[in-house]
């Protein structure tokens, strides 16, 4: 059993992972894990891997026993088997558990707005016309908020249909929530949570944490006493929406 586990564990893992990658690509969900610029490369290499897997299975039919395998100590064997078992269990998880986006657990752990996404956002916004401002995402707004808290700057810049998921403001979870998105440079591992604070007392009753909403409103001084955010969106309307097919911003 040892020798066949040793020989086939890699082929089985690479087959399962490549199959999952191809299915994710076909169903448009590869963007849940990696930046769109890698999709073509990933699909091509996964296809090559599967061709090699089929070739490996085919060649097994004529495999003569070879005495090349180095003798392995009992400890190494146990280690190898448990590594294969852990890897196998995880890949079965990849196969059967529905794909999902990162949740607020990670957003809180990584601290919303810990980093600036877009250093030129303020200058760009100063020159943007109304149509461009209406298209601003969480990425632009959160970057602008990092660079200025001058309310005058936001006077003619309303928030229009801003989409994101709901995450509580840790300093005033009753009254303020962040409308948040993850920004990805390479893959979900490096996702940075960004968010725009929204003042809406009792928001929990209508919109559960992690659910997706669309907010329209205007910036104003934050009425909350405990929240650290100087400015918040005072919403005119908050609507529950479906999670977008590309939940991350790139």
């Amino acid at each position: 059993m040892w020798s066949s586990v040793q020989r086939w564990r890699g082929v089985a893992l690479i087959a399962a992972i490549s199959a999952v990658a191809l299915w994710l690509a076909a169903s448009g969900q590869l963007v849940l894990y990696i930046h769109p610029r890698y999709i073509v490369f990933t699909v091509i290499m996964a296809a090559i891997a599967l061709v090699l897997v089929v070739a490996a299975v085919a060649s097994a039919a004529s495999r003569r026993r070879r005495d090349e395998e180095a003798p392995v100590s009992r400890r190494e064997r146990a280690l190898g088997l448990s590594a294969a078992a852990i890897a196998g269990a995880f890949v079965i998880g990849m196969l059967v558990i529905p794909p999902a986006t990162l949740s607020t657990a990670t957003a809180e752990q990584r601290q919303i707005n810990a980093t600036a996404a877009d250093l030129d956002a303020l200058d760009d916004a100063a020159e943007a016309d109304d149509a461009a401002v209406a298209r601003f995402t969480v990425r632009e707004w959160s970057s602008i908020l990092r660079q200025t808290s001058d309310l005058g700057f936001f006077a003619d810049k309303p928030v229009t249909d801003l989409v994101g998921f709901v995450a509580p403001d840790p300093d005033d979870p009753e009254n303020v929530f962040y409308i948040s998105r993850f920004v990805i440079t390479c893959c979900a591992v490096d996702a940075q949570p960004l968010g725009v604070p929204v003042h809406q007392p009792g928001w929990q009753d209508e919109f559960p944490v992690d659910s997706w909403v669309s907010v329209t409103g205007e910036f104003a001084a934050n009425p909350s006493e405990s929240s650290l955010q100087p400015l918040v969106v005072m919403p005119d309307a908050i609507e529950a929406v479906e999670q977008p097919s590309e939940p991350y911003l790139f």
Binding site: V11, V20, W23, A58, P99, A105, T115, C186, V189
Partner: protein, 347 residues
């Protein structure tokens, strides 16, 4: 006489290859069926599979999966290039271009990445291939350390992210080159280079020496099976640990250290170790931190990260012994820290 000797052999060959045909088609068909079954399983569980995991467990799965999916194409490319180097390229080609002089050899090897733009996880199978092809073990380390930094994709993305600001790009390239060559030189002083390898890989190299069996196609498939059997479990476990640490260690602990000349360097190296992101894109990842961290710490991140991180250690453990990896980590860590401090204080 010669004819008589050849005929039976040929006939046997012919029979063998005919038998080969039918059985192998069936096996290949089963292989295809297996893959279709995997995709079908994934498609049916997409809606109805076990859902409702706790957030943290679900995020661990998502993070680890993303490391695996992101590394998969590079690993496959690395295995493919390794097969190319070992089976399809005549040995003379590779060795002919190298200077005789030890330092010259290592300097040229550290530039191999310019022609093999694979991210660091793909370099592991390639380095294994080079060792099997007669490169010394210190030389394989030079390649492993330099190639992810001195490669066209990394240079382009680093330039796109930082331009020539603060000497970050120049420090990264020069630093990578110097660290690789110093590391190669240090290990070339080792009296018994074979003992730097894991027992299993050393044994494989010894058995491989000289003779190869089977046609090139058979060798190709055989190498694919062997390399994936060693690298894939390491990749999955490395990804799992990397994901686990991401879930467990709050990011702000690291970011809080950002503006101190010494601690910012160490914090960035710790971040690079934990995050295990590919060298091709790490510049974009670190760009948002550039406003809070000193340039030297960014350089330390960009030099240390491609070489040493959780995922890479798991992959390199397939080839080098634990003691070797500890020493490599120590040397690369010290040199990266010095480089970062020099940039912080001098530039």
């Amino acid at each position: 006489m010669t004819v008589r000797l050849e005929t039976p052999v040929r006939r046997e060959d012919h029979r063998a290859s005919r038998r080969w045909g039918a059985r192998h088609l069936i096996a290949a068909g089963l292989g295809v069926l297996g893959i279709v079954a995997l995709i079908a399983l994934r498609a049916t569980t997409a809606e109805s599979g076990p859902a409702g995991l706790p957030d943290v467990a679900q995020d661990l799965l998502t993070l680890s999966t993303s490391v695996i999916i992101e590394s998969l194409p590079f690993i496959v490319l690395g295995i493919a290039l390794s097969i190319l180097v070992q089976v399809w390229i005549p040995e003379a080609w590779l060795l002919r271009i190298l200077p005789r002089n030890q330092w010259g050899r290592r300097a040229v090897i550290s530039l191999f990445g310019m022609f093999l733009p694979v991210c660091e996880c793909g370099n592991v199978p390639l380095a294994r291939g080079l060792v099997r092809r007669g490169f010394t073990i210190p030389e394989s380390m030079v390649f492993l350390v330099a190639a992810p930094i001195l490669n066209p994709v990394t240079i382009l993305t680093t330039h796109a992210a930082f331009g020539f600001d603060d000497g970050i790009l120049v420090a990264r390239l020069l630093g990578g080159f110097l660290i690789a060559n110093v590391l190669g030189w240090l290990f070339s002083l080792h009296p018994e280079p074979q003992s730097l390898l894991t027992g299993r890989f050393a044994e494989e190299c010894r058995i491989d020496d000289g003779h190869r069996h089977g046609t090139r196609a058979e060798q190709t498939v055989d190498l694919f099976v062997r390399e994936s059997s060693i690298l894939m479990p390491a990749l999955v476990i490395g990804a799992l640990v990397a994901g686990g640490i991401q879930v467990a260690v709050p990011r702000d602990v690291l970011v809080a250290l950002g503006s101190d000349p010494l601690f910012s360097v160490l914090a960035m190296m710790a971040l690079a170790f934990v995050i295990s992101v590919c060298s091709n894109v790490d510049a974009f990842f670190i760009l948002p931190f550039a406003s809070t961290f000193l340039p030297g710490s960014i350089v330390a991140f960009l030099v240390f990260g491609p070489i040493i991180d959780i995922k890479m250690l798991a992959l390199m453990r397939t080839t080098y012994s634990t003691r070797t990896l500890l020493r490599v980590t120590l040397v690369v860590g010290l040199l990266s820290a010095v480089l970062g401090l020099v940039v912080n204080y001098v530039v």
